[in-house]
């Protein structure tokens, strides 16, 4: 018995071949690729499946300024074969792209006059598009709390320094292992929450980093009185197809590639607490 299904003209499982516009090293193990996008729409917090030719594709968040519609900006940490293969790409090379996929960060609505962004490590990457937008909204009071392993791992430091001079933006940096030149905070990002001026009724909080860090940060924010519905986290799972077909990224009933990676904390809090779910 046959089915009546219309297939779209472009199979979302088939990648596009796109040209790399530039390669930039950010830190010793993090680099940024700018890739021509062909003007495809995307939302802050969404991800693409990116692969070097002959290598497996991997999910990578989009980290660029949403104002740049001609390119995808992907900031990638070298942790395995696939990301290392991407690190060899240079301007003019071809790269395989599928996407964008997933549900991104919520739009900061008018009722929220305060935006709190808490990120750790490369967790800052998917939050950059939102921060670009926030930097252009003088009425939105934005606080970024950003934790890194050491001062040399701090990403986008020039951009962050520029933003910290904006009247509406506060940037609070912290590292686990400072060097002698470090003049910011030491310790985990959670340490900076009790002393950040947070109005629980007007704040929307976006968190991205290692899952443990997100769990503890979210709890710290709840202690400050923020509603779990105003806290969002971005989950990392093994996304492969991007369409809820392959099953790899499941978190109980959620296909993280489809209903995530960004979730309101009240929807995901319980699932984050269960080991190995």
């Amino acid at each position: 018995m046959a089915t009546a299904l219309k297939l779209s003209t472009h199979d979302p499982m088939t990648p596009r071949i796109c040209e790399v516009r530039s390669f930039r090293r950010e830190t010793v193990d993090v680099f940024t690729l700018e890739i021509e996008s062909g003007g495809i729409d995307w939302q802050p917090g969404q991800f693409n499946m990116v692969g070097a030719i002959g290598s497996r594709e991997i999910p990578i968040s989009i980290s660029g300024d949403p104002a740049r519609t001609d390119i995808w900006t992907h900031t990638i940490r070298e942790v395995g074969n696939c990301s290392r293969a991407l690190a060899h790409l240079r301007a003019g090379d071809s790269v395989l792209m599928r996407g964008p996929f997933g549900v991104g960060w919520p739009e900061v609505e008018a009722e929220h006059s305060d935006l709190l962004v808490v990120s750790g490590g490369v967790g800052l990457v998917p939050l950059m598009p939102t921060l670009y937008l926030a930097s252009r909204r003088p009425a939105l009071k934005t606080t970024l709390i950003y934790g890194s392993r050491s001062p040399c791992d701090v990403l986008f430091s020039h951009r962050l320094a520029e933003w910290s001079s904006y009247p509406n933006m506060t940037v609070r940096l912290t590292v686990d292992h400072p060097d002698t030149d470090w003049h910011h905070n030491v310790g985990l990002v959670t340490r900076l929450i009790p002393t950040s001026p947070i109005n629980p009724f007007t704040t929307i909080a976006l968190i991205c980093g290692p899952e443990v860090m997100m769990r503890f940060t979210a709890r710290e924010l709840l202690r400050e009185g923020i509603s779990p519905r105003s806290i969002y986290v971005s989950m990392e799972r093994n996304m492969k197809c991007g369409m809820g077909l392959c099953g790899h990224c499941q978190l109980r009933g959620e296909f993280v590639c489809l209903s995530g990676p960004v979730y309101p904390y009240d929807r995901i809090a319980r699932l984050m607490e269960i080991p190995e779910l």
Partner: protein, 374 residues
């Protein structure tokens, strides 16, 4: 005569000789017949040259961790419970090429050079197999994000069911609302009448099925034959021994997520993945790049790489893998696809080298949940 009149007519009888012509007729329509045959010690779904390839007089015996065939002393062609490997491998192919990269003037280009999709008539599907296909359709054919290879295979496949008269001791299709009687989702559905092999009652389920039936020699069924067909199905129903109570199951699996019970299952589970490969609805796939060929291959949630992040697997322990599998089948599948992921075929029980029985595990978890509320 309007197109759908076939639904209202009494189903006719196809006798042995006419049944034999089914192959020629299906070939005329361009279909290769794929049906049950004894292969590798199991009754499997394979290409069949003629009715002679069918497993005449062969039955299957299934117990936890055990599958055997033996002869039966009658001429039934479909005298077994169901094929060991379901229809899944013909629709969601175990390994298929999605695209490849070729070079033109040194520039890489993508070619959507899929493996050819065979036009097949799947013969001998049971009600549970049809239900499994219905579930797979929900998974694979969602609006705007369908799996193209599955969609094409599905489009090219004719479904000819044969009502189940011989459930195994592991079958619990009735609990899952999947059988034993096929009530839809087929192009044609046969009921093999006693003493087996010489008369089939034929129901039509689609215009295509009607078209094919009209090319076969049939005769009207007698009142007695109609009665017989009901009797054999009722007997099959009555012979089902295994049950799975689905009420309260989702809640029990969710609330028991941190129970010690999972460790006890893990003590027996090998995390081999047989349950997922034999399951007619397990759909998880991986994507592999072999040189410049990109393929979709079956995967199993029992492998650690399945949930692997760069730091390690999300689900590393056997307890968490088994918990994920059964919770997906019997609870979270409902959230995702508004149906459970189990059809009650019992294949995962027979093909589990440790004989782990998901109905018993589910019952144990429900017991845990009820203990909590006492």
């Amino acid at each position: 005569m309007s197109k759908l009149d076939f639904h209202t007519q009494d189903p006719p009888i196809l006798e042995a000789e006419a049944f034999g012509t089914l192959w020629r007729v299906l070939n005329d329509f361009g279909y290769q017949v794929v049906g049950p045959a004894l292969r590798d010690g199991a009754i499997r779904l394979v290409p069949l040259e003629s009715a002679d390839d069918l497993p005449r007089g062969i039955r299957d015996l299934q117990t936890p961790g055990n599958y055997r065939t033996s002869s039966r002393d009658d001429g039934y062609l479909f005298g077994y419970s169901h094929v060991a490997d379901g229809a899944k491998r013909w629709l969601l192919r175990p390994r298929t090429t999605l695209w490849r990269i070729s070079r033109r003037d040194g520039q890489p280009t993508i070619e959507e050079s899929r493996d050819p999709v065979p036009k097949v008539a799947l013969l001998g599907l049971r009600a549970c197999d049809l239900k499994a296909i219905e579930i797979l359709d929900r998974v694979m054919l969602r609006e705007s994000r369908a799996d193209t290879d599955y969609a094409e295979c599905r489009e090219q496949t004719l479904l000819i069911a044969v009502n189940c008269e011989w459930p195994s001791s592991l079958c619990f299709c009735e609990s899952m609302g999947a059988g034993p009687q096929a009530t839809g989702g087929f192009d044609l559905c046969l009921t093999e009448l006693p003493p087996g092999g010489d008369r089939f009652l034929v129901e039509v389920g689609s215009p295509k099925g009607h078209e094919i039936l009209s090319r076969l020699n049939t005769r009207p069924a007698t009142t007695n034959e109609l009665h017989e067909s009901k009797k054999v199905i009722a007997r099959a129903k009555g012979s089902l021994r295994k049950r799975l109570e689905t009420r309260g199951l989702t809640q029990a699996l969710y609330s028991g997520v941190e129970d010690d019970h999972w460790e006890r299952v893990a003590g027996r589970c090998f995390a081999c993945g047989n349950c997922t490969f034999s399951c007619p609805t397990c759909f998880c796939c991986d994507y592999q790049d072999l040189g410049e060929i990109h393929q979709r291959v079956w995967d199993t949630c029992f492998h650690s790489e399945f949930s692997g992040l760069h730091g390690g697997a999300v689900r590393g322990s056997r307890a968490s893998k088994y918990r994920h599998w059964i919770t997906h089948k019997l609870a979270s599948w409902q959230e995702q696809f508004q149906t459970l992921g189990c059809v009650g075929c019992g294949r995962c029980i027979a093909w589990c080298p440790a004989g782990i029985d998901l109905t018993e595990e589910a019952r144990a978890l429900v017991g845990v949940a009820q203990g909590d509320t006492k």
